[in-house]
Amino acid sequence: MTVKHAALAEKFIADEPRTDWHDETLWFVREKRDKAAHGLPEWEQLREWGSQIKNNTLSNLSNYLKEFEEKATANGIKVHWASDAKEHNEIIHKIIKKHGIQKIVKSKSMLTEECHLNEYLQHNGIEVVDTDLGERIVQFRKEPPSHIVLPAIHLKKEDVSATFHEHLQTEKGNNDPQYLTEAARQHLRNKFVESELAITGVNFAIAETGGFVVCTNEGNADMGAHTAPVHIACMGFEKLIPKAEHLSVFLRLLARSATGQPITTYSSHFHKPRPNQEMHIVIVDNGRSKQLGREDFRNSLKCIRCAACFNTCPVYRRSGGHSYHTAVAGPIGSILNPNLDMKANADLPFASTLCGSCTNVCPVKINIHEQLWKWRQVIVTEGYVATSKKLGMKGMSFVFSNPKVYRFMGKMGRGVMHLFPFMVNNKLNIWSKQREMPVAPKESFRDWYLKNGKSQK
């Protein structure tokens, strides 16, 4: 097994005050979510509905996709299908080339991160400007977003100030958020005005109407789509919902779960292009149908990308998003990414204590921690674990399957390393790096019981 997450997390934690700050900031969001959810007596009912609507969608996906394509096309939207990231990028590139466009703005799309669209376009000599504040900050820094809703949550205002000083020539050392936001706003305003093409994500696509909804807090998706003559929306096919009336369930769940707001500031509905505008939608598979076919993991496609599972995850909060080394981090990312590349992401399902908080916070009731458990079994079966771990586990299995051996080992060592060889990696006992070992008693419970147990009765 690769130790990537563990190693990257260790690096993150080395700066403990920053780790604390990261943890507290995200916990604050989680608490806001609790308050917002507690305000709705029907919360658990909404979750159930959200889950069932998505179940229905996933079970009838091909029909709904067909319906969506028909309606959207009838509305004048050009629908494209991409089987993988490469095709997604090529479709977009083709549209850009066709129009000979230079200036592109983008807003709210984790899918384009998943497909590495920016890098692809850049490679082809085309610049894309991310317009959401957080995304713009990480774009300046040439970093990927660390969180799907709060992409620059790993950065402090001092970091932002330094970044803006470098790229926007703001005053050195001026950390005032108001000042920095204003600078970003002025800078982005020009980009919007000049842009010829806007790329946005999709939060919900409605089969019944052929329209789609984009939820943003800054209004950048609207601003881009409303100024540019060409609008390309990118969506994974799981973003579909059957009917417009189902939106009421998801819009109530999404913002509350994501940030604790009753509703996102802008929930923009797109149904057809304006006169003289071109509207495209790229519907992407990129491993999704494979995941749909994996019975144990199918549920993960219900995800509405609220990131509540990130904010609640005690491991995510203390390891930072980059430790997950993938576009979608956190608990749900640890389920989605092994599907995309099992070898490269074999470490992720192990980056969890299986505490179950994610499962219970999830607005569409994805059994996240159970799927993480199941991925571990698959990854081991497929052989993506270190030999040392395998040997340790085999040793343990032998000891625990044989009561006499178990007791002998216990008596001999009564040390963690004898019974749990996995706790010892080479010469280093990892347990005791920052923790004392339990003090071994003279006798085991069983020894005590044989001497005293019966007399208790």
């Binding site: 203390r318 908080s357 916070v361 571990r376 081991v380 399957s401 009561p403 070992m437 208790q456």
Partner: protein, 251 residues
């Protein structure tokens, strides 16, 4: 009522006191308790690491030891949850199913089956309760802040019967301590950081003891407390309910 006592491997080896307290509480409450002598481990460390295929031997041994009882009780939520969810024995499926349906975590057994209303223990200390995730969310031993359901806690209900005890809650009442089975070694840095954060909240409350229903979490927290040279100690809930003083004598 024939009750089998399941003392998970690491409690047997490192925390016999917890096993003794569990046994004594159950006996005081009138249960006919047997400790099957060939028991070892429930197989959780392997299964949670992805090696469920290697826990077959454990499963067979478990079924052999724990067949023929009305109930099985263990002072460890996570081991109980593992058995409930994953125990399998192809040769004895009925027996395995019976075990899965009748295994109880200690505090749940006391509140739900024995319906204990009073306990004659006293523990004049300030105590912080640590909710272990597998017990809390997995076995539903207490409510969680993620869900919008009425608040309850089976372990606290029992602790509140103890004379002289002062219970205090950490700010994040249901945050994981970071033990997580083999997570505690393969993700050492995060694991320890989570443990340190848990401890800090309890220390802010100036507790004398941190208690809980899962010895594994307590072992992890104890390891950090000792390394830090803290005055705060850990104690399993069974030891408190058994009357701490008695336990010292029986050691």
């Amino acid at each position: 009522m024939k009750v089998a006592l399941f003392i998970p491997c690491y409690i047997d080896q490192f925390y016999p006191k917890v096993g003794i307290a569990t046994l004594q509480v159950l006996e005081k409450l009138g249960c006919d308790v047997t400790f099957p002598l060939q028991q070892t481990c429930c197989g959780q460390p392997m299964a949670n690491s992805g090696f469920a295929s290697l826990s077959k031997g454990c499963d067979i041994n478990f079924v052999e030891n724990f067949t023929g009882f009305d109930y099985i009780v263990a002072p460890s939520g996570s081991c109980v949850l593992h058995v409930k969810e994953h125990l399998q024995d192809d040769k004895h499926p009925q027996e395995a199913l019976h075990i899965r349906n009748t295994i109880y975590e200690f505090t749940e057994f006391l509140t739900n089956i024995l319906k204990v209303e009073s306990i004659s223990a006293s523990f004049p200390y300030k105590v912080g309760m640590h909710n272990s995730c597998h017990g809390q969310r997995g076995l539903n031993l207490s409510s969680m802040t993620e869900r919008m359901l009425p608040e309850f806690s089976k372990p606290e209900q029992l602790l509140n019967m103890v004379k002289g005890i002062t219970l205090s809650k950490p700010k994040r009442n249901d945050e994981c301590c970071g033990f997580g089975g083999t997570f505690c070694v393969f993700e050492e840095a995060v694991s320890v950081k989570m443990g340190k954060d848990r401890i800090k909240e309890h220390e802010d409350n100036e507790v004398d003891y941190i208690t809980g229903g899962d010895t594994s979490c307590l072992m992890h927290l104890e390891g950090i407390l000792k390394r830090q040279g803290s005055k705060t100690k850990t104690i399993h809930i069974a030891e408190i309910l058994n009357g701490f003083c008695e336990l010292v004598k029986s050691e």
